[in-house]
Symmetry: C2
Subunit: 522 residues, 2 copies
Amino acid sequence: MTTDTVSEAPKRRRAGGRRGHADRAGGAVIEQMPFKQPVNPDPFVEPLNEDGVQAIHKGVVRILKEIGIGFLNPEACEILKQAGCKVEGHTVFMDEDFLMQMIGRAPSQWTVTPRNPDKKIVIGGRHMAFGNVSSPPNSWDLKRGKRSGDMATYVDFIKLTQYFNCIHFAGGYPVEPIDVHARERHLDCLFHKLTLTDKVPHAYSLGRERVEDVMEMCRIAGGLTREEFDAKPHMYTNINSVSPLKHDFPMLEGAMIHARRNQGVVVTPFTLAGAMAPVTMSGAVALSLAEGLAAIALLQYINPGCPVAIGTFTSNVDMKSGAPAFGTPEYMRATQMTGQMGRFYGLPIRSSGVCAANVPDGQAMWETSNSLWAAVQSGSNMVYHAAGWLEGGLIASPEKFVMDCEVIQHIQRYFDPALTSTTPDDIAVEAIAEVGPDGHFFGCQHTQERYQTAFYQPFASDWRNYEAWDLAGGVWTAERAHKISRDIIDGFEAPPMDIAIRSELVDFVARRKAEGGVPTDF
Amino acid sequence: MTTDTVSEAPKRRRAGGRRGHADRAGGAVIEQMPFKQPVNPDPFVEPLNEDGVQAIHKGVVRILKEIGIGFLNPEACEILKQAGCKVEGHTVFMDEDFLMQMIGRAPSQWTVTPRNPDKKIVIGGRHMAFGNVSSPPNSWDLKRGKRSGDMATYVDFIKLTQYFNCIHFAGGYPVEPIDVHARERHLDCLFHKLTLTDKVPHAYSLGRERVEDVMEMCRIAGGLTREEFDAKPHMYTNINSVSPLKHDFPMLEGAMIHARRNQGVVVTPFTLAGAMAPVTMSGAVALSLAEGLAAIALLQYINPGCPVAIGTFTSNVDMKSGAPAFGTPEYMRATQMTGQMGRFYGLPIRSSGVCAANVPDGQAMWETSNSLWAAVQSGSNMVYHAAGWLEGGLIASPEKFVMDCEVIQHIQRYFDPALTSTTPDDIAVEAIAEVGPDGHFFGCQHTQERYQTAFYQPFASDWRNYEAWDLAGGVWTAERAHKISRDIIDGFEAPPMDIAIRSELVDFVARRKAEGGVPTDF
């Protein structure tokens, strides 16, 4: 090494925790990691032994064969009857052979490509994708408290969804904008989602008209022909069963449309142990799997190989009050068991970032940390509600959104193989010898070459000592997160969109509104 | 099943998350789990492959052989010289054969028995033990803010340490009581610790006199003869190296006294990557292991088979400010790597529950959750500072203590095999059939038989919906934890102690104070 080399400025390697390039919309409110799907290198936590896996599978098979699942959709019943299932009323009975044959058709991994192909995501394998909080009726923030959802607040959350690189897909509505009539709400919501984000979009399966409107808008936004759109996944839906033991009409209708057009379908039963499911966690998981697999079997019969995933929303209730609990030890184990079973069935897995807390405080973060790390441990591929969720899903909070993104970045950085690399340069015996017993590593060449990327750099944490923190106002995390969220929203710049495509979207929305939107009975 | 059976009151099984019996001191401020050491059933997260393990081991060997470790204690140098090590000044060089031979003498598991034998703990294997925050100079609480440590506050934290069943050992001073002169501080501190708790006590290795005073007090508290005391571990010390590459005089002196008398010694280098250790995590881990193993080799030469553990305090600094960071992704991986290496060397492992936050808010809980779950993943046997730590160890907080105990109980409950049990009763197909598609599980017999113990019951979380929570005052977690901490402290009842033993302790303290305590130069 020459003196010249030593006197050079430190090399700027960009592989580490800090932002590599300006891959984001909006200004530099925070320094964040680039958009990149994390790949989980750790062994999954699999709490079941082989007997346990078989016991749950046998439970699933018995539920499907002996008890049956209600498909509250005549078309679905008719299809499954044709497929050879026993159907009584709307109850469908499936045997193990049919189930396993259909499930065997599902791909274990698939890709969704949104209007910006750089934001495509892989669903399956060791890939993870994180999405925004979806579907709360209300929002809460530090300044305004709890309020019903409206379109302005919806737009704010869509901006946060786009801004944070660690959020990989734009899930359902972050808040339900009840100030827009239900007949045209989906048109405005999707217009904002498709123009303000370029990430994978989601459609609610709330009847044929809405699903087809959203598909058409996603097709336009991608600049695709109908054939190009239908050729591969560009969006997805998530359907929930009506636990116990039922799938409702509009969810099945939407799922079948998605399946026929090769768009993603995630099937997520909502089995709260002790309420809609057995009080025992493996029982709740078995019921959840039976409900989910039944719908997936239907979709694979309709379109073999269509992209699907099995979701879990199994948690427990507070047996004192009946209130749902999230991020509990029981929740973690149920998520891990479902992940293990998902791999047994060869299906991608979806879980969530959830908590029962009402405000973005300590409880919110220990419960959400539990659920996000359980997503990691379970090998979840999609993590829904990963940022912004409060009050068991009844509140979306911008502060919580920011705080959760910090934890998601932790996870992304945690996966970086640089952290556990053991080359001779990493072990650094020469640097240890050079510094010796009386030196400090900060000044040594080994450090200077690496210090800019060596460590994760948080954006919401405050690492100053108490006195410096206090002198700067003694601001607690939720308040720091509030300021960050406002700065991001206020400085937001939308991702680029071809003006002709934007016009086509505007025209589509105007035409559909002129046609009266979707018929409602109110 | 007869009608009579159905009409019976639900059976009260007590195996689950709720408190099984009144195994605690003090009143029923909260319902908590009984005192029981958790046993970790999960596979450990081991980020190194075999080459990685060998690379770190080779680094350790090279550091010990080529660079050497400073033993700033002439007796230790003399002993290691006799043992055949090369010694230059106070720098000791060890070769691999000597190292591995000495380390091979250490037990992979040992037991510490405090004055109440029911509170004995196993250090090693899959057992975990959690201890209170130790050594902050300051305390902080919601009402009084940040204050220098004093004896009244020390006593408050000792009461919390005893009260919480999930805290298994009474580590160092939860705050440093600077209102008591250093010459007699250890006498008062240990008197309170030994009378107000019956859990495993700790001695600071701050010179021979203090260590021997504490040992004598632990012997008296246990009602033991000198021979009985020396026969097996009844207490432990933790020593830190002066990184890089040194052990100081009093720490080594205290450790050698403990080793000779078969009391536990945990050796925990404090290697902050980028400051006292290489900026690369595997380099920081290698340096930490080299320092720690060197001291353990000394102790095993002195008393083969004496109880020891290898600790990790490897984290990173904020490269912008030099401030230490805790609970980071880098911290988690360093902890896991150290755990893996600890098993390679056949030694029990100690890590910590740590954060850099200044107040018990969201950041505090995501950082602490990261570090506590990293303790689980790493297979740590002792988790120091597990409850109450803030500001990188400069603050002890009663609110944080309560909040951390909630997370520790999560961990304890998470380990319960009941959560992943898959007997036919757990899968519950009959209950699912009985409830059917239109029923609810709350009322069914399967639930009624299990609901009291089925789920973890938190004490610091509030699971009410927003409106009920708001109506009750809208109390955030830190404030709820404040109230719990005050109620526990105000209602505290000390564990029973034989009056003669207590008198002997009183007399010992009085005599040692009359003798002037420990000489100091101030």
